[in-house]
Amino acid sequence: MNHAIISCLHANLPATEAVLNDIDRQGIDTITCLGDLVGYGPQPNEVVELIRKRDIATCQGCWDEDIIDGLNACECSYPSQLAERRGHLAHQWTDDQLTDENKSFLASLPTSLRRDRLLFVHGSPNSQHEYLLPDMDAFAALERVDTAGADILFCGHTHQPYVRELRDGSIRVRLQNADHDCDQGEELTLPMRKIVNAGSVGEPRHGSTNATYVIHNDATDEVEIKEVPYDVGRTCQAIVEAGLPKVFAWRLSHGFEFAEQAEDASHVCER
């Protein structure tokens, strides 16, 4: 059976509507959302209400968490002080706009969802703030999936969709301990695991303005990355009219984050 995974909607209603329409057209009725319903975009209440109305299973993203708990990320999560100031401005604006009911909904979201061997998170099983990039250390990537007890990990947060299969892994070790003072060598065969990043519905950064999501077939484990065009201009105009930083509109209209890519995107905020 096919099911759809969406992530990082970021208060972009036209993009969210376009993606849900695309999923509906294919007759898929199981949808999982990996969080970040709000932040950056101009329609936080509308997007939260649409997800609630459609009763879409959702886990909490880093923006959803921060709106509820206060800014949780330290400045090192931002690549520059300018980016941090813009992030804080968007946080304050979103906080002012969101209704109490919608905040309660975001607060109620779990940090992960599990269906058998499939695990759904926003960033990584460790943190909503951790980025699992497509080229990160393969052993570290495998550790995130395997330690969480999953065969396939679905995540978002990077805004770049990809499917990464980790296979044919092994680690050889040699042990010296105090009791025996002798060497024991052995080899561990690592399991095959997969990471599926759903990209971003509301703020794509893969080089195109199209919204992205993925479809997974749970019988064959095949994954299809989908791109959906939508009215980007409408969202950009709403960003400017709302008084949000214009760079958010520029970013949306280019489909990537040129000036604000973190140097150490795997960094996890410990605060």
């Binding site: 497509p134 080229d135 250390d137 393969a138 052993f139 570290a140 990537a141 495998l142 550790e143 395997d146 330690t147 770049q160 969709p161 990809y162 499917v163 990464r164 299969e165 980790l166 296979r167 044919d168 892994g169 092994s170 680690i171 050889r172 070790v173 040699r174 042990l175 010296q176 301990n177 105090a178 003072d181 060598g185 080899e187 561990l188 690592l190 893969h206 080089g207 195109s208 992205t212 994954v223 990355i225 791109e227």
Partner: protein
């Protein structure tokens, strides 16, 4: 020139054991540094005398460089040095009495010094941490999955991780292996191969059981304070 590090942890306020280790180190050639990887304090005895000695070493002592461990983390959390967090891990594992006992073993005059201790040291290409890069309470042993050990090394990008939380002495080397991965995105597919880097995790022991690391030869020696058999066997005396 020989350069050796002494690595100690889990003294839990035991000044007598620390004294024995200092005496051993005086007899050991080439020990240039003494690192104490946390758990200076514990709930079972008054720790003030040991803390006084660590803060104000005797003239003949090898001067210690200390970091904080799990017990210090619990004390500092309970005393309000960790924001809203309290000694939840201790309370959960050993109950309220253990929290009270811990508070009674350390004079508050030591708290600022304990709070000034670092999470870990990076020396050369080695990380010296009580638990691991993941958490001060991360309990790494020789039984821990090599995948997790490799992850803890990778997070810090070091070749050796010296850890103390488990209280065990072991030296586990990652000697080989690899992994293949395929990434598919909207631009197509690409294959990647990665080899296991040659790295090690070393459990340094606790209390009287400590470790000497020979920097030049990359050898570890597991010792017990005043254990003449072991030290002779290692050629240290």
């Amino acid at each position: 020139m020989i350069e050796r590090w002494a690595l100690v942890s889990g003294l839990l306020g035991d000044l007598e054991t620390y004294d024995l280790i200092q005496r051993d180190l005086k007899k050991t050639r080439g020990v240039t540094s003494l690192f104490i990887l946390g758990d200076l304090i514990g709930p079972k005895r008054n720790c003030d005398a040991l803390l006084d000695r660590l803060k104000n070493p005797h003239r003949s002592d090898l001067k210690p460089d200390c970091i904080y461990g799990w017990w210090e983390e619990q004390l500092l959390a309970e005393r309000g040095f960790r924001g809203e967090r309290k000694a939840d891990a201790l309370r959960l594992s050993q109950g309220e009495d253990a929290v009270s006992a811990l508070l009674n073993t350390v004079n508050p005059s030591h708290l600022n010094w304990l709070a000034s201790l670092q999470f870990g040291f990076i020396e050369l290409d080695c990380a010296l941490i009580h638990g691991s890069s993941s958490d001060v309470g991360d309990n790494l042993t020789s039984e821990t999955s090599p995948l997790i050990l490799l992850d803890r090394l990778t997070r810090l990008n070091v070749n050796r991780l010296f850890t103390a939380r488990s209280t065990k002495q072991f030296h586990l080397e990652l000697t080989g292996g690899g992994i293949n991965s395929q990434v598919k995105d909207l631009n197509g597919k690409r294959e990647q191969q990665q080899e296991v880097p040659k790295r090690s995790v070393i459990g340094i022991g606790a209390g009287a059981h400590y470790t000497i690391y020979d920097v030049g030869s990359d050898k570890t020696h597991f010792l017990t304070a005043s254990s003449q058999t072991n030290t002779k066997g290692m050629g240290f005396v």
